[in-house]
């Protein structure tokens, strides 16, 4: 050792020779149980006195000498052994061993000298470094190789390898499985198919159609159709109808009444002959006339509303009325009407007088008159009835007339009902509004099919037709409702400009 110029311990201290160390350790473990002396001190002394043991923390040995008086303790009880035996030195030693294993990867004493020491030849020459650097530099240019400090801290620095998880490598029933595998191989070599596989092979192929049976969308362009009206007998019909009905498997029969159409109008109303792209003169004029009438009617309605809303000229304040209003109450007028008013009041008060009581005679007279009147009425009635015998003809005619009238009214009502059938009904909030007529003015008409400009929208026409035939109710488009109110704020940048 001493032949080198300078020798430095590579780790902490000089390692002892391996063989000695081992013996010592065995001793240490055995000693405390056999000795009668205070175990801690004894072991310490013993271990320390052993030649070749290297203590990492040498200071502990020197400072740890107890100067306290020994306590007397009964040692015939295990409890006291545990309590009062000093195991510090053992733990310390074990700790030290662990520490060595962690840091060096084994006991210091086991290591050869080459592992522990190296030759210090001073600073390496700078020229060499400079040559080496650019090569490195090129490599490192991409990214700095130097690890972060935090990574260094977190690095696993113990040299003791992690214990192997035995369970991870174990396979339950390994032997059995191996045997089964071997047997299967043997059978396969013979060409024997095991029973289970046979069963699998014999099983029917899985229903691949089941997935296809998922109903496809109605608007699938490649969907298939079949003869829906041809197939009469379905499988369901063969079952007991009562059973089907009770189990809810039978469809409820559609009432016949539902197949009636809600309107008598045809589905497609062909446009008037004037709507041709190259119309005959008169039919075109007729169509224009019709459209004109519609417009006039609309205009009239608008005018009517305007007229009704107009301010009456008499209500507009003139100078005179303004003046009168201003002077109201300031100029006193002589009230001549007050005096007669008072008189009237007096009369009114006097009117509330109790009627005089009727005498008995008056009552009798009244009664007699009443009876007489009744008799007269009855006679008159009888007489009239008798007289009707002679008026038979006129009565007959009047009856006929009445009947005729009722018949006429019936007819009218029927006609009205018929006309109503073609009319759109009131089905909701809104009334049906016919769309604007499609008309092209004489100068808009195209000379040829190529220049034709289509008028109106077929989509709208269809939609209105559905409404007109009472298939759907006329509706307004749902309006978008904002839940929260909007607040407008000028942005700062914008405000600066303005």
């Amino acid at each position: 050792m001493s032949s080198f110029t300078e020798v430095r311990p590579s780790v902490l201290q000089v390692a002892p020779p391996a063989s000695v160390q081992h013996k010592r350790r065995r001793n240490v473990f055995l000693f405390p149980q056999s000795s009668n002396m205070a175990p801690s001190r004894r072991t310490k002394r013993v271990v320390a006195s052993q030649p070749g043991f290297l203590n990492l923390k040498s200071s502990s040995g020197a400072a740890g000498l107890p100067s306290i008086r020994r306590k007397r303790v009964n040692k015939n009880k295990k409890k006291n052994w545990n309590k009062h035996s000093d195991i510090n030195d053992v733990t310390e030693f074990l700790e030290d061993v662990r520490h060595q294993e962690r840091t060096i990867g084994g006991l210091l004493s086991d290591k050869s000298d080459d592992n522990l020491f190296f030759l210090d030849v001073g600073q390496p020459k700078k020229a060499e470094q400079k040559v080496a650097e650019p090569v490195d530099g090129k490599k490192r240019k991409g990214k700095a190789v130097r690890p972060l400090r935090i990574d260094l801290i977190l690095q696993h620095d113990s040299l003791v390898p992690p214990p192997k998880d035995v369970l991870a490598y174990q396979q339950p029933n390994a032997k059995k499985l191996r045997r089964i595998g071997q047997k299967a191989e043997q059978l396969a070599a013979k060409g024997v198919v095991p029973r289970r596989q046979k069963q699998l092979l014999n099983r029917r192929p899985a229903d691949r159609t089941a997935k296809k049976a998922v109903t496809e969308a109605n608007n699938n362009p490649d969907r298939e159709y079949y003869d829906i009206w041809g197939q009469e007998c379905e499988s369901k019909d063969t079952a007991d109808p009562w059973y089907l009905q009770q189990t809810g498997k039978k469809r409820v029969k559609r009432p016949e009444k539902l197949n009636e159409k809600p309107s008598v109008l045809p589905a497609v109303e062909v446009i008037a002959p004037g709507g041709s792209y190259n119309p005959d003169f008169f039919s075109h004029q007729a169509l224009l006339q019709e459209a004109h009438e519609v417009e006039v009617k609309k205009q009239k309605e608008e005018d009517k509303i305007e007229r009704q809303l107009a301010v009456n000229k008499e209500h507009i304040a003139t100078e005179e009325t303004i003046l009168r209003e201003q002077v109201e109450g300031l100029v006193e007028e002589e009230n001549e009407e007050e005096a007669p008013n008072e008189e009237e009041e007096g009369v009114a008060v006097g009117a509330i007088t109790v009627a005089e009581k009727k005498t008995e005679r008056q009552r009798k007279k009244e009664r007699a008159y009443k009876v007489k009147e009744q008799l007269r009425q009855a006679n008159r009635y009888q007489n009239d009835k008798r007289q009707q015998l002679f008026q038979l003809r006129s009565i007959k005619t009047s009856i006929k007339q009445e009947e005729q009238e009722t018949k006429d009214k019936q007819k009218q009502r029927k006609a009205k009902q018929e006309a109503q059938k073609a009319q759109p009904r009131r089905l909701g909030k809104l009334k049906f509004k016919a769309q604007d007529m499609e008309v092209q003015l004489s100068d808009e008409l195209a000379g040829s099919l190529r220049q034709l400009k289509p008028e109106g929208s077929v989509l709208k026409d269809r939609f209105k037709s559905l409404q007109k035939r009472n298939l759907i109710e006329p509706r307004e488009r749902a309006k978008f409702k904002r839940r929260l109110k909007l607040k407008y704020v000028e942005k700062r940048a914008f405000r600066e400009i303005t």
Binding site: N219, D227, I271, V458, I472
Partner: protein, 567 residues
């Protein structure tokens, strides 16, 4: 008088109706779902007779449904599907919110869907019922098939509609069922006859859509959903009635917009060869007397119809690029013509412009540079007018650059006495087989004369219908008077007498007229009054028609003079 007091609104009409909101709650559906269900099941709102009673005293406008209808809806299995769909949407939303893409995919795979087949069967128990209601379905499908992919409706719906409409058109072509066409400013109206039902539908022009805002697309889409299903089943049945394969073998892989045309130029695959199913002749039954005439008439009619179906047979058309290809191709093929177009315009063209056998080229521009001498260059209206007139019209009026005669609506049917435009009269004359004396020179004048003649004819007809021959005699007298007045001096002459030839036909006529007069004389006062009234109405109609005709003539004259002045 004892018993419990009757409460208001617990019986009668108040219990027969249910408001929309209540119905919705009863079915546990949202309003859009409820609306969809009602449309699919064909249940419509109802206006009660006594609104105030039904509305329990309130006069607020509400939508009412019949309670029984709603009860019927309760049994519908689709309601369950609607609820499932609601749950599906909720789950999907949640999955999206949590960005769980795998579950989104899984949910989408298991999207609940429903079928409308049972509803179709329920609403239309027989095929004819369905066929009667097909107008709407056709209109809607044709409309949706013209939509672009604007997101207003599902792209798949548009494609399905295209497929169904092409199938329908192919059926019409195969069965030669088209009857009428009318080009209006709105769109093109077609009328066909299938299984004895007249079916009218409207096809919008291509690219004419500005999507109106006040139309509820959701409602329209629901109707379309139902109608596509209906139309598909109907198509199936119709194809099978013609022994055709369904679905037709059309290469669907082609681009959708082009699909229509290519499909129209190809003919369909038949299950059975055509020869045997050709024209079953009317069975002959031994009949007597009066029916015989009817039978003959019917037979004649049928022959005519057969001839009309082969209107364009043997003709070869070529469509220039500026004409509405689809409509024309459909029409021409409906009546047995051959049709093609430029290869660069669209696929499906079968021959080129250079083909020498082309008989008609349809052009819609004022003039064309290179013209072949052995074909007619005509404007597209000719085809439409021919179809409506059911004969091949003379091509002269439809040459390039010529002002076209008006396109008349075939959907108007004039009763006797109504005003009939002269153009129609002309066509009618042609139909009867009368050749108008047409010569190239003095064409206009000739035309005029023609019209006049026809008008006179018409008048004569009317008069014959009018009760008696007296008027005719009077007219003769008047004419004589006029002649006399023109001649100014009465030329008194004695002419040799002629032997009066007794015309049996005329005699018969006279006899009939006499009988009629006598019958009128024998009428009761009341009946006479009614008769006079009717006759007066008829005459008034005639008068009005004459007035219109005179107006028209004046108008034409004015036009002509203007033209001449310009020249």
């Amino acid at each position: 008088m004892g018993g419990l007091q009757k409460k208001k609104y617990e019986r009668g009409s108040a219990t027969n109706y249910i408001t929309r909101n209540k119905a919705r709650k009863k079915l546990q559906l949202s309003l859009p779902d409820f609306r969809r269900l009602c449309i699919l099941k064909g249940i419509y709102p109802h206006e009660p007779k006594h609104k105030k009673k039904v509305n329990k005293g309130s006069t607020a406008p509400r939508t009412f449904y019949l309670l029984k209808d709603i009860r019927f809806l309760l049994h519908e299995p689709i309601v369950g599907k609607f609820r499932e769909y609601k749950v599906f949407v909720r789950k999907l939303k949640k999955a999206y919110g949590k960005t769980e893409w795998s579950s989104v995919e899984r949910l989408k795979e298991n999207k609940p869907a429903y079928k409308l087949d049972h509803i179709i069967k329920e609403r239309y128990p027989s095929f004819i019922d369905a066929l009667r209601d097909i107008d709407d379905a056709l209109c809607m499908c044709f409309l949706f098939s013209t939509f672009a992919r604007t997101g207003k409706c599902h792209v798949q719906t548009i494609q399905l509609c295209r497929r169904l409409t092409v199938e329908w058109m192919n059926y019409v072509i195969a069965s030669r069922a088209l009857k009428k066409v009318f080009i209006s400013i709105k769109g093109i109206y077609y009328q066909a006859e299938a299984m004895g039902q007249l079916i009218t539908w409207l096809v919008p022009y291509q690219f004419s859509h500005d999507h109106p805002t006040d139309v509820d697309y959701r409602v329209m889409a629901t109707f379309t959903e139902f109608y596509t299903t209906l139309l598909g089943f109907i198509n199936f049945r119709l194809y099978h009635s013609l022994n055709l394969l369904y679905p037709p073998k059309v290469s669907w892989t082609l681009k959708q917009s082009q699909m229509k045309l290519s499909a129209l130029s190809a003919s369909l695959a038949r299950v059975v060869s055509t020869a045997e199913e050709d024209e079953a002749e009317l069975d002959q039954f031994p009949v007597d007397g009066e029916d015989m005439a009817n039978m003959e008439a019917r037979e004649k009619e049928q022959k005519q119809e057969e001839a009309q179906k082969k209107l364009f047979e043997g003709l070869k058309f070529f469509l220039n690029r500026e004409v509405p290809r689809e409509s024309l191709a459909f029409l021409i093929r409906c009546f047995g013509g051959e049709v093609s177009w430029d290869k660069s315009v669209c696929i499906g063209s079968t021959y080129e412009v250079k083909d020498e056998t082309i008989t008609h080229q349809i052009v819609d521009r004022p003039n064309i540079d290179k013209q072949y001498i052995n074909r007619y260059y005509i404007q597209p209206q000719w085809v439409y007018d021919c179809v409506n007139a059911k004969i091949i019209l003379p091509v002269e009026d439809y040459f390039l650059g010529v002002t076209l005669p008006p396109h008349l609506s075939p959907f108007v049917e004039e009763k006797d006495g109504d005003y009939v435009p002269p153009e129609k009269l002309k066509i009618m004359a042609l139909q009867r087989g009368e050749k108008p004396a047409h010569e190239q020179e003095d064409e206009e004048e000739e035309e005029e004369e023609d019209e006049e003649e026809e008008e006179e004819e018409e008048e004569d007809d009317n008069e014959e219908e009018g009760d008696d021959g007296e008027e005719a005699e009077e007219k003769n007298l008047k004419k004589m008077e006029e002649q006399r007045s023109q001649g100014k001096s009465l030329s008194v002459k004695v002419t040799a007498g002629k032997v009066k030839v007794e015309n049996p036909a005329r005699l018969e006529q006279e006899e009939k007229a006499e009988e009629k007069r006598l019958a009128i004389m024998m009428m009761k006062k009341k009946e006479k009054y009614l008769y006079d009234k009717i006759m007066f109405g008829k005459k008034r109609k005639v008068r009005e028609a004459n007035k219109l005709a005179a107006k028209r003539k004046a108008h034409d004259d004015a036009e002509k003079s203007k033209k001449k002045a310009r020249k």
